[in-house]
């Protein structure tokens, strides 16, 4: 047995556990989400959705996975081979990176980075790079158009996204996600939670809209609108590489929803229940993770609901909404928060 006192080996082991936990958590949620999304959308459309594989079609994700794994991998003749093949891996990697700094319980976090929120904003901006690689590498005009739209959209929405977090950071006085959640643990009269959605309603609206745009979901999913762009940047991808893009997209979905919960909905805190389990040892962590995941699924369900209800926005409307709508609101929120805090 290796000596466990060695701090280096301990660090490596801790890091590996974090990596495995993050990937496991995300994979399970993504598998479940692909099923849930189809089911929820089907219900909204008054259809049944997947119902053949397993009870309630629950084994559908497994069947899909086997299908995608065994599909032929097609590389277009005129593609830029290197970039084309690297793009799905880059998309997957950059989608995973922000998850490291999002915790699902106090201490249940892969890496509690001091600059947590900023780190998340920074590494999620890298996904654009992967999408542009796919768009360019495919050497297909629809992919290219989709890629251009993605770049324009994510650059535009990144600014309100970061600005809307400034208010919270100023109140908490820390960029760490753990500190931000800890700051939301109290409640008025023991029932009304002191979550930042109540302190920063304007920031919540801006952040929510911007995060949906960054995920590229309806009503902001024009980078891959099927009817005009034939699915945009991943038109040419098939089999496992296509699956990696889908996986990355659903990871964005999970991480984005988790961020909304962390920043605005009190993370793993819930009035009445949280104080009860405070001294219960390991049960505390299970309850915290449960509360966090439940809240996350509320956001996820809302977004699916939005997808089933709203239509896609036109590209110029999306960009002008970002620059002329969200950006001034986010700036106003920064100013108001600054003034209120300094009084």
């Amino acid at each position: 047995m290796v000596s466990v006192e060695n701090p280096l080996i301990m660090n490596i082991i801790r890091g590996l556990i974090g990596v495995v936990a993050v990937i496991l958590f995300l994979s399970l949620n993504v598998l479940f989400l692909t099923w849930l999304e189809r089911k929820v959308i089907a219900r909204i459309h008054v259809r049944y959705g997947p119902n053949r594989a397993g009870p309630y079609g629950l084994l559908q994700p497994i069947a899909d996975m086997i299908k995608l794994l065994t599909k032929e991998d097609i590389v277009p003749e005129k593609a830029d081979k290197l970039v084309y093949n690297l793009a799905p891996m880059a998309a997957f990697l950059f989608a995973l990176m922000p998850a490291a700094a999002v915790g699902i319980g106090s201490g249940l976090i892969a890496a509690d980075i001091g600059v947590g929120v900023l780190y998340i904003a920074a590494v999620s901006s890298l996904s654009t790079l992967a999408i542009l690689m796919a768009a360019w590498g495919s050497n297909n005009k629809y992919s290219l158009l989709g890629g251009m739209r993605t770049a324009a959209q994510s650059l535009s929405y990144e600014i309100p996204l970061v600005l809307s977090m400034i208010g919270i950071v100023a109140i908490v006085g820390s960029l760490s996600t753990q500190d931000i959640v800890a700051a939301q643990s109290q409640a008025w009269f023991g029932i009304i939670p002191k979550w930042f959605i109540f302190y920063q309603p304007l920031a919540f609206i801006v952040f929510f809209a911007a995060v949906v745009a960054e995920m590229g979901r309806i009503p902001f999913d024009l980078p891959e609108s099927e009817s005009e762009l034939v699915a945009g940047f991943h038109t040419e991808y098939s089999g496992m590489k296509f699956a990696m893009f889908m996986f990355a997209e659903y990871i964005h979905f999970v991480v984005g929803s988790a961020l909304v919960v962390t920043l605005f909905l009190g993370g793993w805190h819930l009035p009445i229940i949280s104080p009860l389990v405070e001294n219960l040892g390991w049960i505390k962590y299970i309850v915290q993770a449960g509360i966090f995941v439940a809240k996350m699924y509320v956001i996820i369900f809302t977004l699916m609901w939005v997808r089933g209800t709203l239509t896609r926005t036109k590209v110029d409307h999306v960009l002008s909404f970002g620059w002329k709508g969200l950006l001034p609101l986010a700036l106003a929120n920064v100013v108001i928060t600054g003034v209120v805090l300094s009084i």
């Binding site: 600059v115 050497n139 890629g147």
Partner: protein, 166 residues
């Protein structure tokens, strides 16, 4: 030992990226190599404990500037291959070596090496913010840079508007 091993691996990545920028025959590959080099530099900042600087490096350079570069590259023809520069080919390595020597001298005389443990304190968000917004330190240069960027932005908008009006 481990620290220097990590440092050498990251440095190799940065150098490979930088060489790739110069040697790549397609512009798109050159920009991607640049992204690799910039991300590597961010990793160097992390090993030095300057988390804030590393994150800003990723946010501004890899996530912003490189994406804009790629955006511009996409407006070019897809089969565009770069030719070797027609002149100054012999001067390039000489000037690169001279620049490297000057940079090495500067770094060696700057006292970065003696920072050691203090680096992580100096590189934190709090201390960087404190320095930038301290009237005795850098607040005036900071505001001036902000003004300069604002002027550049107004200029860019003005140029773009003129194009559109034609």
């Amino acid at each position: 030992m481990m620290d220097s091993l990590v440092f050498f691996i990251i440095s190799a990545v940065v150098i490979a990226g930088a060489v790739g920028v110069v040697m790549a025959e397609r512009i798109f590959h050159a920009v991607l190599a640049l992204a690799l080099a910039l991300l590597g530099v961010a990793a160097v900042f992390v090993t030095l404990g300057a988390e804030f600087l590393a994150v800003i490096q990723v946010l501004v350079y890899a996530g912003g500037v490189v994406v804009l570069f790629l955006f511009a590259t996409m407006l070019t023809k897809s089969d565009l291959q770069l030719k070797r520069p027609p002149r100054g080919d012999e001067l390039a390595p000489v000037s690169a070596v001279i620049f490297a020597i000057v940079a090495l001298f500067y770094v060696a005389s700057s006292g970065f090496a003696s920072l050691g443990e203090r680096a992580s304190v100096i590189g934190s968000v709090g201390s960087v913010g404190g320095l930038i917004f301290n009237p005795q330190a850098y607040v005036i240069p900071f505001e001036l840079v902000g003004l300069l960027l604002l002027a550049a932005m107004v200029g860019a908008i003005f140029l773009a508007k003129k194009e559109a009006a034609k």
